[in-house]
Amino acid sequence: MNGGRSEIVRITVTMTVVCALAGLVLGAAFVATHRYRESADRRTERRAISDLLQLDSAATVVEVRQLFAPGRREVIYRTAPLGAAAEREIVFGIDGRLVASGTAATGGTGRGEAGAARDDDAPALIPLGRMFVAFRGGTPAGFVVEGESRGYKNRIRFFVALTRGFEIAGVRVVEHEEDPGLGAEVATPAFQGQYLGRAAADLEALEVTKDPMPEDWRAALATVGRAPRDAWRERHGALLARERGKPVYAVTGATISSRALTDGVRETVDHFRRRWALLAPQLGGPS
């Protein structure tokens, strides 16, 4: 059986070499493209945020990143104008007690690492999520919160926009790998329109149903992306009032994806409200 054994070796060597080469090519392609991909993603993200908040030129957007420092058992919020370097740092203990607040650039909190080491990939800090706060005339005018949920295939990453009165102003899936024609439908304006106008407090009881969607509601949702949001809401005011108390209608054949997004939105908004209750006094808004 000598021949058989040398065949085993040949096949093993061939497959190993092929896999190593494949890894090299893929690694090189990743290194060559990921920087461009990230900046493209950021541009898309920024467009989605200003679109969701329907911002005018008078508004400014501040990005707030939440990080957890397990060693110190502290939650850190870093704020920065959209696309700029971090400028403020607000630190809470895990019990919600304010520990420190100051400018991040100069290491104003006077705690932990030196200023230069305070970037996102400091290994000790675990990112917990991001939110974007729109300010108009010094007070918060709206929020976009990033959320993630496990979809049918892979994670679904999405933005939830809230008005200052904590009403959903829009939901937008920004990254997903659900099946085209089935789960991917949750990323359409028509499906996402079902969340419009729901109050954060009502989300706790929000369910997903497999019942067929009423035809008039379906027809209205089919046009949700085509007109300015406020005009659309005005035109379909009666329908919206009726459907606000109803569950979310699942995409036919994609109940799991529909539920994933709905659960994700509920959880994300819930987390946000608790975080904002802590943050609002620091950022100058109503809690």
Binding site: E7, R10, I11, T14, M15, V18, C19, A22, V25, L26, A29, F30, T33, H34, R35, Y36, R37, A40, D41, R43, T44, E177, D179, P180, G181, A184
Partner: protein, 218 residues
């Protein structure tokens, strides 16, 4: 596929190109990769984008296999072909995501599916693994162009009939025959176009041509 079974003198580039586009058109003749052809061709633009991606993957995979064919152990050629296709699909996926984000948002989901397109591995198996570099390149290019042509024609027909528009420009009010935008309509579109394809071919060749193969899947 007689050329593939008897690798005598190398076939000519022009014949290989025409063979891929007409004689053995992947969709209309070989009836391969019909499912993806149906899934993505709801609009002309989707058809073009995916057709170009398939063209690139086919050519790159054919080139890789023909260059490496001496070292590919025949007993494990299928996993090796699969890895080669998967690598090129991933590379193209990364390039599209990085440099054409707007287009990627539309076809990104489908690009990953190219890994499982029957036409690509079948060309590696029947052609690139048995022919030198230049003919393999033209075979891959011809097959890729044939697939692109098919996706473009199907996409245009379905967009026109299903959505009443061409390349996004609305030509008719509303949706004339929504049926054609749905998956079942896709199969009907392919059947109608396949019949048309056969008819044209029969007229050109004077009725001597064999009927379309059919029976393919994947």
């Amino acid at each position: 596929m007689s050329a593939a079974l008897h690798p005598g003198p190398a076939p000519r580039a022009r014949d290989l190109l025409l063979n891929g586009i007409f004689g053995e058109n992947p969709v209309f003749r070989l009836a391969l990769s019909l499912c993806p052809a149906v899934a993505v061709t709801t609009t002309l633009l989707n058809g073009v984008l995916l057709g170009v991606a398939v063209l690139l993957v086919q050519v790159l995979s054919s080139l890789t296999v023909t260059l490496a064919r001496r070292w590919i152990h025949p007993r494990v050629r299928i996993p090796i072909y699969t890895i080669i296709i998967a690598v090129w699909v991933s590379v193209i996926d990364m390039l599209l995501a990085a440099f054409t984000p707007a287009l990627y948002a539309q076809v990104g989901l489908y690009v990953k599916l190219i890994v499982a397109f029957a036409i690509i591995i079948s060309r590696l198996e029947v052609f690139a693994s048995r022919h030198p570099l230049v003919p393999s390149f033209f075979d891959g290019l011809g097959m890729g162009l044939g697939f692109l042509l098919a996706l473009v024609v199907i996409g245009a027909m379905r967009e026109l009939l299903g959505s009443g528009s061409i390349a996004g420009f609305q030509l008719t009010p509303g949706k004339p025959l929504l049926f054609f935008a749905l998956p079942a309509g896709g199969f009907f579109s392919i059947a109608l176009l396949m019949a048309l394809f056969n008819r044209i071919e029969r007229q050109v060749t004077g009725g001597s041509s064999r009927p379309s193969a059919g029976g393919g899947h994947g």
